[in-house]
């Protein structure tokens, strides 16, 4: 199956076309954010304040890379465990984030939120940090510099490979894939 190509900003219509199990190649801009950045962003939402960057329609990548070697744009940059972001994800989807990239299972309320707010959960290959770093062409801190490796970075990616895990129709690749290949 040929992978689909997508770029942010993503619209509801684009999201509705994605199905769990689709392989995608992302080109263009994505933003990094993990626990500490999510906490700050959700606090701003609760206070009704603006975010330091406009992320409506954008893609967030849960990643904490290794330090870049001289000459590298970024160090090895595979996904981190998404479950730690579950408590923040419904709020950021409600705000207008359209896709998040990570690895590992999401809780039920997060899975439902992808349906409710028309978003998708994308999996990048866990442990393929060296490969994924090669698809990142530029990296620049755009908010919360004080968080160091957890700062929000704007990444420019080319053919960044991901798989749709939870789509906006309520499908879950983890559950369905497992059922399909399980043997008694």
């Amino acid at each position: 199956m040929e992978p689909k190509r997508i770029s942010a900003p993503l619209t509801d219509e684009m999201i509705m076309e994605l199905k769990a199990g689709d392989n995608l190649l992302i080109s263009g801009v994505i933003y990094t954010g993990r626990d500490a950045a999510h906490k700050k962003l959700v606090e701003l939402l609760e206070k009704g304040e603006e975010w330091p960057v406009d992320l409506k329609g954008q893609i967030i990548y849960y990643v904490g890379p290794t330090p870049a070697k001289p000459g590298q744009v970024i160090g090895s940059a595979g996904p981190t465990t998404s479950g730690r972001m579950d408590s923040y994800t419904p709020a950021v989807l409600k705000y207008g984030i359209k896709a998040v990239i990570g690895k590992g299972a999401r809780d039920e309320s997060t899975r439902k939120a992808f349906q409710e707010y028309k978003g998708v959960y994308l999996g990048a290959t866990g442990g393929a940090g060296a490969l994924l770093a090669k698809r990142i062409k530029d990296a620049e801190v755009v908010a919360y510099e004080e968080l160091g490796p957890e700062a929000i970075r704007k990444l420019v990616v080319e053919d960044f490979p991901v798989t749709v895990i939870n789509d906006a129709h309520g499908n879950d690749l983890y559950a369905e894939g497992r059922k399909q290949y399980a043997k008694a």
């Binding site: 199956m1 199990g21 392989n23 990643v63 904490g64 890379p65 290794t66 330090p67 870049a68 070697k69 590298q72 160090g75 090895s76 940059a77 595979g78 981190t80 465990t81 479950g83 690895k103 590992g104 299972a105 999996g123 290959t125 866990g126 442990g127 393929a128 940090g129 060296a130 490969l131 770093a133 090669k134 490796p149 490979p161 798989t163 895990i165 690749l173 983890y174 369905e176 894939g177 497992r178 059922k179 399909q180 290949y181 399980a182 043997k183 008694a184």
Partner: protein, 280 residues
């Protein structure tokens, strides 16, 4: 008595920290190649080809295969005829970790306190296990351990009456619950027997065996095979996207135990199954 300067230990640990994170073992690469050929799920096949490409890039460019470059776990077999000179043994190991993780551009993933969570900024301290053995050599094995797979591990104090079936069920159930989180395909280390702390140590030590090398006892070798088959029948598959390869191997280490107990432990390792050895 043979005198060994602890600086040699520091140098070895620094080099192994980098090598373990850059160069995936041939045994694991071969298991990926087998997976690429035999995996039935198309998404699963794609995962194996990404993992092979990832290992190639890491090796050629000398960069970490995974961004979680792990907790530095050291297994030391210290010959009883060795006299260590030139400094503190534990500090020599920590200095090696500090140097390797800094010079090697590896991620510093250790916090000084489980609640305060301030990063120690040099990936120390290492976890150090020492066994005194006959001879005048020192064998060092460094096994950096990622958090994602470590978090999915478990210890169970089973009842002797549960027998072999109890062990198999506990192991399969632990991997089943872990699902996609430990970055499958995984390597499953199993400890069986001993005490509460010994069994966890055995499970971790089992991960150091080359992939595919069975337990020397044919009964336990068969049990390893049975567990591997049951785990792969779960259907979790590469990355949890569904498929026939959930684990690349199950490796079990056994030890005598108390009449009243039957401890079991499962230490899950991700496909970034890293360990390097050095003899001084």
């Amino acid at each position: 008595m043979r005198e060994v300067d602890v600086k040699l230990i520091t140098d070895a640990v620094a080099e192994m920290s980098k090598e373990a994170n850059y160069f995936l073992g041939d045994d694991v690469v071969q298991a990926f190649e087998k997976g690429l050929k035999e995996e039935e799920s198309p998404v699963g096949k794609e995962m194996f080809s990404q993992l092979l490409e990832n290992a190639r890039i890491a090796r050629e460019e000398e960069v970490p295969m995974c961004q979680d470059t792990g907790f530095a776990v050291l297994f030391v077999e210290l010959g009883q005829d060795v006299k260590l000179v030139g400094g503190d043994f534990n500090e020599a190991i920590n200095e090696g970790v500090r140097r390797g993780y800094t010079d090697g551009f590896l991620r510093k993933s250790i916090v000084s306190d489980p609640l305060e969570r301030a990063n120690t900024k040099d990936n120390t301290p290492a976890i150090i296990h020492v066994e005194i053995v006959p001879g005048d050599q020192i064998k060092l094995t460094l096994a950096p351990k990622g958090g994602g797979s470590e978090n999915m591990s478990a210890v169970g104090m089973l009842k002797p009456a549960q027998g072999a079936k109890g062990l198999v069920d506990f192991v399969v159930d632990t991997v089943s619950k872990a699902g996609p989180n430990p970055c499958p395909p995984v390597v499953v280390g199993v400890g069986f027997g001993g005490t509460f702390e010994k069994v966890a140590y055995l499970a971790k030590k089992a991960l150091l065996r080359p992939l595919g090398e069975p337990n020397p006892d044919p009964f336990y070798a068969d049990l390893e095979k049975e567990m591997l088959e049951k785990i792969n029948n779960l259907g979790i598959g590469p990355q949890g996207y569904g498929g026939r390869f959930t684990a690349l191997g199950v490796q079990l280490e056994v030890f005598p135990c108390h009449i009243a107990s039957m401890p079991a432990a499962v230490n899950i390792n991700c496909h970034a199954s890293r360990h390097k050895e050095r003899v001084i």
